[in-house]
């Protein structure tokens, strides 16, 4: 047995172990991308680097054998900095979209590709649940949304974007028309009460997600009826009030209390609310200068000053969301903000630190040239954008919705949730644009019936090459070229199908990124 210390923790492991194995035995997480357990180490990714005995060079933990008395440093800032650089270098040549561009530009981060897969296969209820995870008022927004998602759609420049907004509206309308609208499950009551001032899109959205967490919500509004700007600012021809009412009804059915005709300040002071409720959310829409002063809130150039991380104002326990923070004409921003506030208030009430700063880590491929788009286009139906037969106001029929949803190219990475590179990048706080180079051309190999290969996402770890060799493929894969141009390829320029006759599934399963994925993974 060999005893060594890793970050001052003493670890005893059997002789012949690697530092990585020792660290794992001690419960110390060292990230890896190219490691294949049970095989001879072949380090290439170098994100498992550690400092050994205070040396000036770092060693790959996966290939460094333990030695008695060894001192290993795995979490110091300088070690993490080199690991982060390794990840940032890999990201500098990583071409793809973690999330679809539609999802990336949507302020509410609607999981559009998943919704599209569900609509395309007729799973309308499931599609609605997907939508409502991000948007509390989809039928409403489906009528007034600025359709930012469609501007991001990769088909936009080709034959028109997929009708994301109309499809979202379709699933919401279909749900409301069913007579049994979806009501999300709510956690058991936490006994915590939240006062929400303003029942516009931000306030309603916050209530919808707070209620699901088990917190009680009271919506105060200066008007008699809930809806805020949606009711009092949007023309009825654009947004029929029965649609708005139906969506608000769901929130009230979930247990929200509404108190109209209450103006905060005159009848009810902010201090009173702070005393009576565990948290207060300001969702009033833009405030006047006078109102800030009266409430005692610090302000910024745009509105109420909030801590971006916690969404709290200068008053403890008072949060703010929507136009009261930054004025926006888009209800979708207010809806997104309300959801974020619900999350922040949830953390506050539970007494935990905010989980994450801002958005999830994602890389974006950016604009593609028309010829680069061609392989993408093969992933969706070839039909042009469909116009609802009954006119835009009527929306899609179920059959039309399915057809239109099949146009989605599914640009999002099939491994978005399981990609090791993305996971490590997020944990190390990597900046994907720190090193910029000339962008490589987008390519995708769809010649194989079981797997799909995107060279732009390959990190040249060689895992697929090794697995193909282990499984005795006749042609298999080899690493072609050297240096920056190194990449896996099938010998004699044959197709991927010829190279991977039996090992395709195993190779895809072991790929640490979304470079080699099972076709079935893509829905």
């Amino acid at each position: 047995m060999v005893t060594l210390t890793i970050d001052d923790i003493s670890v005893t492991v059997s002789e012949g172990s690697t530092v990585l194995e020792a660290a794992r035995a001690a419960g110390i997480a060292i990230p890896t991308l190219c490691h294949l357990p049970g095989r001879a180490p072949r380090p290439s990714c170098y994100v498992c680097m550690v400092r050994v005995n205070g040396g000036s060079r770092l060693m790959p933990a996966c290939a460094t054998p333990v030695v008695d008395g060894m001192r290993v440093e795995s979490q110091s800032e300088s070690v993490l900095a080199v690991r982060r650089t390794a990840i940032e270098l890999l990201l500098s040549e990583h071409l793809g979209d973690c999330v679809g561009p539609c999802e990336g530009v949507c302020p509410a981060h609607l999981e559009t590709p998943r919704m599209m897969r569900q609509i395309a296969t007729g799973q309308f209820r499931e599609a609605l649940i997907t939508v409502k995870r991000s948007i509390a008022l989809p039928a409403t927004l489906g009528r007034i949304c600025p359709e930012l998602c469609e501007k991001g759609c990769r088909r936009a420049g080709h034959d028109g974007p997929v009708a994301v907004c109309l499809l979202k509206r379709f699933v919401a309308d279909h749900d409301l028309a069913s007579g049994d609208p979806y009501i999300p499950p709510c956690a058991p009551s936490t006994g915590k009460r939240v006062a929400i001032i303003g029942s516009g899109p931000a306030g309603l959205s916050a209530a919808y997600y707070l209620l699901q967490q088990g917190h009680a919500c009271t919506l105060f509004d200066a008007h008699a009826l809930p809806g805020g700007m949606l009711r009092y600012g949007v023309p009825e021809e654009l947004l029929p009030r029965d649609v708005l009412d139906a969506e608000i009804r769901v929130i009230l059915q979930m247990g929200a209390e509404f108190r109209g005709n209450v103006r905060i300040g005159a009848e009810l002071s902010l201090d009173q609310l702070r005393a009576e409720y565990h948290a207060v959310l300001l969702a009033t829409g833009a405030l006047q200068e006078r109102e800030f002063l009266e409430a005692g809130l610090a302000r910024s150039a745009q509105g109420v000053r909030v801590d971006r991380r916690t969404m709290q104002t200068s008053l403890p326990g008072v949060f703010a969301a929507g136009s009261v923070v930054i004025a926006s004409r888009h209800a979708v921003r207010a809806v997104a903000d309300g959801r974020a506030a619900a999350e922040a208030i949830g953390h506050y009430l539970a007494g935990v630190a905010p989980s994450r700063t801002g958005k999830e880590f994602s890389v974006h491929a950016g604009r593609l040239e028309p010829e680069e788009l061609r392989p993408y286009l093969a992933c969706g139906s070839p039909e042009p954008r469909l116009i609802p037969s009954g006119g835009r106001a009527a929306g899609f029929t179920p059959e039309e919705a399915q057809r239109e949803a099949q146009r989605c190219l599914q640009c999002a990475c099939a491994r978005a949730d399981t990609c090791a590179l993305r996971d490590i990048a997020e944990r190390l706080g990597a900046n994907p644009t720190r090193f910029r180079g000339t962008r490589r051309a987008f390519e995708v190999d769809t010649s194989h019936p079981e797997v799909r290969f995107e060279p732009g996402k390959c990190i040249a770890c060689g895992i697929c090459v090794r697995i193909a060799a282990e499984q005795g493929e006749t042609l298999g894969l080899g690493m072609q070229g050297r240096g920056f141009g190194l990449h896996p390829a099938v010998p004699f320029r044959e197709s991927l199908k010829a190279g991977l006759r039996t090992a395709a599934r195993a190779c895809a399963a072991a790929c640490p990124t979304g470079a080699l994925v099972l076709v079935s993974d893509r829905g």
Partner: protein, 800 residues
């Protein structure tokens, strides 16, 4: 033999294996001759390429079939080494050397001129007629003739953009005249006869020496003179070639420098004729040494006799100390008797007679010999480790994969002193207990390969290698393995992988090759120069060797000094001399009118030392402290015309191309370092790019597996350390040396009188032809080829 499989391996497009002319039949024959083991993969690919000039797919498929080597391995190996080509090429291959010396002397302009002259289209390397294919090569090792281009086997040196057409025509003309490349072994000259010694190593050949050699032979035949013409080894006086040394009995040898073929007969008549006539024709010594570097043509221009006592030659040769190049100029490279007559194989004989391997190792250890490949590991300790191994199978390897651009001393030693290297290797093999060994030599050094192979054959014939050497029970079989164009193979574990027939990817050490090397057996691997020092040490004793040099760096070191020096060439100096002594005293300093700025030492792994640190001694530790490394001995002198950011960019371009691609930090990191340097050289860099450059350089150094990645940032880090002001200037869009093309502009001053010469030489039509009127340069069309400035008779063209 027709087999069902055999006839159908080529997707129906190829010919069947029974066709004696088919690639498949060729492969069958080669495999039958060479064997089919995995270590034969690279030699087989080399044979196929030699035959077809590229690797036809049919041949590769057949190779997999008959050897059982996996197609994936063929793919990996054939695309790793730069030598292999998977596409057909033109009738002749033009290799443009982009070594450091060539880069400094304008290789890119020569390359651009070739592209224009052959009308190559964007991204294509073969001319429309399929006659020439132009490719870049990392270094041809003929640095003193920079810039150099190799057309098939013919080398052309001292090229300028306007003489590339001439070189291509000359090549085609010479194609028609067949001539023998091989210089046969000759009996010693009868006593009393005059000997004309012509240096024929490959860079001298590039300088036109072969034609002089042939002309002398012809002249001897024609005049009936009683004289012999024979090849000699390198003298290191590269700035004086083509050189002929005339050795007549009872007289001082006479050295002719820069001889032209048409002058051969006069030389022969003078020295080959009866005494009395000698002295009638006096050659006039001129100041050619000082003008040599501005000489623009590759044809030698003037003839001179020089005396070894002439002041510049004295200055050049004086401070040198010859150990590995002992008897330079006197030993005919392949004449084994010429080596034996000068103490050759005495050391090996003594070792075998004394039969005390430990004693040999002790002697080498006490001499303080350190590895001359660059890192300076104590040779004795390495040998002792191999000797101490339990494994009875051991190997010796000579690392002749001299890849540093700007370095060519190993090529010179292998070409001019092959027996000395072999003797040193045999002694090492005896000391560590090895019976088999390999010399790994770059394929870019064909003459070195030929000379060593021939030297091995002749040694075996004399019982100096092979079975029962010198009648003892010590046997040693040595073989030459040719590299295939990968700088990283200079790294010992990568070199071993390459001999085993795999991609040259380094592996993590330990275990070191001394414990687990070739095929897992203990392996003693040393550099060419290290082995070449061994016979001298054993003949003169450890003390004599240790008396030379500094406290930690003993003996001598061979350097190739190139770039901006008056007297460039190969020198062997005792350790401890300063860089200033080398540059200013031995090599005559930078050309007049220019200021000495820096020395690049150690190639892509080394650094740039500023002139202010020129008093740094040649010593492993002192050089490292200054940020450079001893390296293998390439020294490129830079003056005020050279841009340090461009030099850093040049080296990163090199390492980036040569990275094996295994480690992320080297594979992508060197590319990103290069991106930033390219932005700097184009004036497009951002202020924070400098910090990013420095930080990334440090991290690439920390996080790479092998020496290539660990040292690749050195040129960046040392130039940042000593020449930060130049980086700052580039941020402002200004290149102080006027070297970075995007940042300089050609202008015509008022001095122009309308002679139109600039307009006539301009290759891109950037200067409209305006007889008798002032000319001007179109900045957009101008490619900064510098042809106009060189052509202007009144210096009316300036660079801003």
């Amino acid at each position: 033999m027709i087999t069902a499989r055999g006839t159908n391996v080529t997707n129906g497009t190829g010919t069947c294996a029974t066709d004696p002319l088919s690639p498949a039949a060729f492969v069958d024959a080669r495999v039958a001759e060479q064997g089919s083991g995995p270590e034969q993969l690279i030699p087989l690919l080399q044979a196929i390429q030699e035959r077809y000039r590229y690797l036809p797919e049919e041949a590769l498929r057949r190779l997999c079939e008959v050897t059982g080597i996996r197609p994936a391995d063929v793919l990996e190996v054939s695309t790793f080494y730069a030598q292999f080509r998977l596409q057909p090429v033109g009738e002749h291959l033009v290799h443009v050397c982009h070594g450091t010396a060539c880069h400094v002397r304008g290789a890119q302009r020569v390359h651009d001129a070739l592209v224009r002259c052959l009308r190559l289209r964007d991204g294509e390397d073969t001319d429309p007629e399929g006659q020439f294919t132009v490719q870049s090569v990392a270094c041809l090792g003929c640095c003193s003739l920079a810039p150099v281009v190799q057309i098939d086997d013919a080398l052309y040196g001292h090229l300028t953009p306007d003489c590339v057409t001439g070189a291509l025509k000359d090549f085609l003309a010479r194609q028609r005249r067949a001539h023998s490349e091989y210089v046969p072994d000759m009996p010693p000259a009868p006593s009393g006869q005059t000997e004309f010694r012509v240096i024929l190593d490959s860079c001298c050949v590039a300088g036109g020496t072969r034609r002089v050699y042939e002309a002398l032979q012809e002249a001897v035949r024609h005049t009936g003179a009683r004289a012999t013409v024979r090849p000699a080894g390198c003298t290191g006086l590269c700035h004086l070639i083509p050189m002929v040394e005339v050795v007549s009995p009872g007289r001082e040898p006479v050295l002719y420098a820069r001889v032209r073929p048409e002058e051969a007969e006069r030389i022969v008549r003078q020295h080959g004729s009866p005494p009395g006539l000698a002295g009638r024709i006096r050659q006039i010594w001129t100041d050619v040494l000082d003008h040599l570097l501005t000489d623009a043509t590759w044809e030698p221009v003037t003839r001179h006799t020089v005396d070894k006592r002439d002041p510049p030659v004295c200055a050049y040769l004086g401070p040198q100390r010859r150990i590995v190049t002992e008897h330079f100029g006197a030993i005919a490279p392949l004449e084994i008797d010429s080596y034996i007559a000068r103490d050759g194989f005495v050391a090996l004989r003594r070792c075998l007679e004394a039969s005390d391997p430990e004693g040999v190792i002790r002697e080498i250890t006490e001499a303080g010999l350190r590895g001359r490949g660059g890192a300076g590991f104590p040779t004795g300790i390495k040998w002792a480790k191999v000797r101490a191994a339990h494994d009875p199978i051991r190997y010796v390897i000579c690392n002749g994969d001299e890849g540093d651009p700007g370095a060519f001393m190993d090529r010179m030693l292998l070409e001019s002193f092959p027996y000395r290297v072999l003797e040193g290797m045999a002694i090492a093999a005896f000391a560590v207990g090895a019976r088999e060994g390999f010399l790994y030599i770059r394929a870019e050094y064909p003459q070195a390969v030929r000379n060593v192979q021939e030297a091995i054959r002749r040694c075996e014939a004399r019982g100096l290698l092979g079975e029962r050497i010198l009648g003892t029970d010590f046997s040693l079989r040595l073989r030459v393995v040719q590299g295939a164009g990968a700088f990283v193979c200079g790294e010992e574990t990568a070199l071993i992988a390459s001999i085993e027939g795999r991609r040259g990817t380094p592996r993590l050490r330990p275990p070191y090759p001394a414990e687990q090397g070739l095929w897992g057996h203990p392996t003693c691997i040393n550099n060419v120069e290290t082995y070449a020092a061994v016979p001298w040490i054993l003949r003169h004793g450890a003390q004599a060797y240790a008396a030379i040099g500094t406290s930690t760096s003993k003996g001598t070191k061979v350097f190739s000094v190139t770039g901006r020096v008056v007297r460039g060439g190969l020198i062997e100096v005792p350790m401890g001399v300063t860089i200033r002594q080398i540059v200013e005293e031995i090599c005559g300093g930078v050309p007049p009118g220019h200021t000495f700025k820096a020395v690049q030492i150690g190639g892509p792994s080394g650094g740039c030392l500023p002139a202010a640190l020129a008093d740094t001694p040649v010593d492993y530790e002192a050089l490292q402290a200054a940020g450079a490394i001893m390296g293998s001995g390439g020294m490129v002198v830079l003056d005020d015309r050279d841009c340090m950011v461009d030099i850093a960019r040049y080296f990163l371009e090199f390492t980036q191309k040569e990275s094996c691609g295994q480690c992320t930090l080297c594979r992508v990191g060197t590319r990103r370092l290069l991106d930033i340097l390219e932005r700097l050289c184009q004036g497009k860099a951002h202020r924070d790019d400098l910090d990013r450059l420095e930080e990334l350089a440090q991290q690439v150094r920390m996080g790479s597996l092998c020496g290539l990645g660990q040292t690749a940032p050195n040129p960046v880090l040392t130039t940042l350390r000593y020449f930060r002001d130049e980086y700052e200037a580039h941020l402002q869009g200004h290149c102080p040396a006027g070297r970075c093309a995007a940042l300089v502009h050609y202008r015509v001053t008022d001095a122009c009188f309308g002679c139109t010469r600039c307009a006539q030489v301009c290759p891109t039509g950037a200067i409209p032809l305006l007889p008798m009127r002032p000319h001007h340069v179109d900045d957009v069309l101008c490619t900064r080829c510098d042809a106009c400035r060189a052509a202007c008779p009144v210096q009316a063209i300036t660079v801003e």
